[in-house]
């Protein structure tokens, strides 16, 4: 890529972020040997939201490699102990029994908060931090699970419960401040660190080949079509990824595979100006900027 091409691509990404009403970061890199990169504000720390489940997945895989966890052992999650959420086991009302690896799958495939916090309890916060440090992700800090974020949000807003706190975050007429949105106080990362993590997963540098294959398969199982995937509306391409959504935060980090081509890792981390819970323009912009970056790297 010539310097002028890189500048043009970065400008187009910035314009699309501005037009969508978000402050955004992007980093994309080809995963083949000597792969090039596209970067827009790629080193600015951003609160991770559910993107934190990606390093958690890697920590889980390493725990399995080290035989600290049996992925096929089962665990029962009781409704009263589970972190609430809109999807997966979080949304259910009865006790659920599943294997550890299927909990890990659910936390990635549908961003299941209950499964995520159960996996975090099994792996341990220290295990996730060791993973982040071992992979050289120096701009990433993990401060806890979804349950901790919800507790901080509830405390800071004086809302009494998570649902009320979430309601406050959706108000365009008032700003809601919380430590949960401060990159210095909450779990945070950079777009560059997330593509580095994905590169390690894709090259089996983060785990054994067996666990690498497991992680890639569950990342391909993610169901959401509205963000990264929306940038690639044609056949012959597969997108693996993990989203993150909390208040105004809209993220997805993933890998785009065009058939017979080297895969490309893309991380888009953004914060919307609007507070509305559903922002399809922002979701589509995440796909659009990813498409611009990937097109430049193919």
């Amino acid at each position: 890529m010539t310097p002028s091409t890189a500048a043009r691509v970065a400008t187009e990404v910035q314009e699309r972020f501005a037009s969508a009403g978000v402050r955004g970061c992007l980093h994309a890199r080809g995963l083949a040997e000597g792969g090039e990169e596209v970067r827009v504000d790629a080193d600015r720390p951003v609160v991770m939201a559910s993107v934190y489940k990606l390093p958690l997945l890697v920590a889980f895989a390493r725990a399995v490699d080290e035989r600290r966890l049996d992925p096929t052992a089962t665990v029962t999650l009781a409704p009263e102990d589970r972190t609430p959420g809109a999807t997966g086991i979080s949304a259910m009302v009865d006790p659920v029994t599943a294997s550890w690896r299927d909990l890990a799958r659910s936390m990635i495939a549908v961003s299941d908060n209950a499964a995520g916090d159960a996996v975090l309890d099994a792996v341990g916060l220290a295990g996730v931090r060791e993973t982040v440090a071992a992979l050289g992700l120096t701009s990433t800090r993990i401060d806890g699970g979804t349950r901790d974020v919800y507790r901080i949000l509830t405390d800071d807003t004086g809302a009494g419960d998570v649902a009320t706190a979430m309601e406050l975050l959706r108000d365009n007429d008032h700003l809601t401040h919380s430590r949960a949105f401060d990159p210095l106080l909450a779990s945070s990362t950079t777009a560059r660190d997330m593509t580095a993590l994905l590169a390690a997963v894709w090259a089996d540098r983060a785990s054994s080949a067996e666990q690498g294959a497991f992680m890639r398969s569950v990342l391909f199982q993610q169901i959401w079509p509205h963000r990264l995937s929306s940038g690639f509306p044609y056949g012959g391409v597969r997108v693996a990824g993990k989203t993150g959504t909390l208040g105004p935060l809209r993220h997805e980090v993933g890998v785009v595979h065009h058939r017979n081509e080297a895969p490309i890792a893309v991380a888009v981390l953004s914060e919307a100006a609007r507070a509305d819970p559903h922002q399809p323009r922002v979701d589509a912009a995440i796909g659009a900027v990813a498409a611009v970056a990937v097109a430049a790297l193919r």
């Binding site: 010539t2 310097p3 002028s4 500048a7 043009r8 501005a18 037009s19 969508a20 009403g21 978000v22 402050r23 365009n172 007429d173 008032h174 700003l175 919307a272 100006a273 609007r274 507070a275 509305d276 323009r281």
Partner: protein, 288 residues
Amino acid sequence: MNLLRGARFFLTVHEEGRFGRAAARLGITQPPLSQGLKRFEESLGMTLLRRGSGGVSLTPAGASLLPLVRALLVAEDELRSAAAGLAAARSGVRVGVVPDVPVRVAAGLAGPDVAEPDAEVHLHTASSTAIVEEVERHRLDVGVIEHPTVVGDLVGGDVILYPTWLLVSGDGSADGPLRRLVTRPVAVTSRHDAPAARDLLADTLLQHGVNHGTLTVADDRAALALVAAGRACALTADPGAGAPGVARVALGVDPLPLRLRVVHRPDDEVAGVAAARVERHLRSAAPR
């Protein structure tokens, strides 16, 4: 060598196509231009311009580097203009205000509520997008912008709500829910002025069953003219805005208020103090 000077020479010669014309534009003679350009090329280790009898043209390397040279010179212009702005502003506070703020309220920002005996307030009217950019670049100290707008690293207080009126053509007998009141497209200024705020307006209209869309106009005068002509509706936060044949329907602050925020740079204490005064003025001056 002086890189910026060389970059300026390169761009000017490219734009003018001939050394003679470029030298004239730069206010120098041809030999120093020619030598300066050569040194610039040497310092980059490549030939950027092909010299021919018909004038000069870009080499592939020159074409490739041209956007970066432009960016470099834009940055230089910005640096100079920011420095000049800083020098000019030592005695006052530069406040950017969106045109949606009622005239009386905006004028009040320059009055004793906000200004100090030794610190004048200089008001500038611009779009939210432009104001954020100017505050970031130190060309303005305080911004009064529409919310929601992406503010980057700027900081500011909570949202300030101003009631609005719907301007419709007719005698003002219209009543009922929003979808009965709005029977024409709503005239708005360019989406680029504040993309998130414009999208929120459009989505709120849809939420309330108003399906006539929006119509882009240059400013509030053009909007009022379209309303008078019976071709559009408009929203205003100005209690004085109106025209013959145009009715005003009070909407209050729900669901289409004018949402304002006062922003400044986080490290600028002087601007922070001024921003607090601006915010207090805006809150106390809000029409009831």
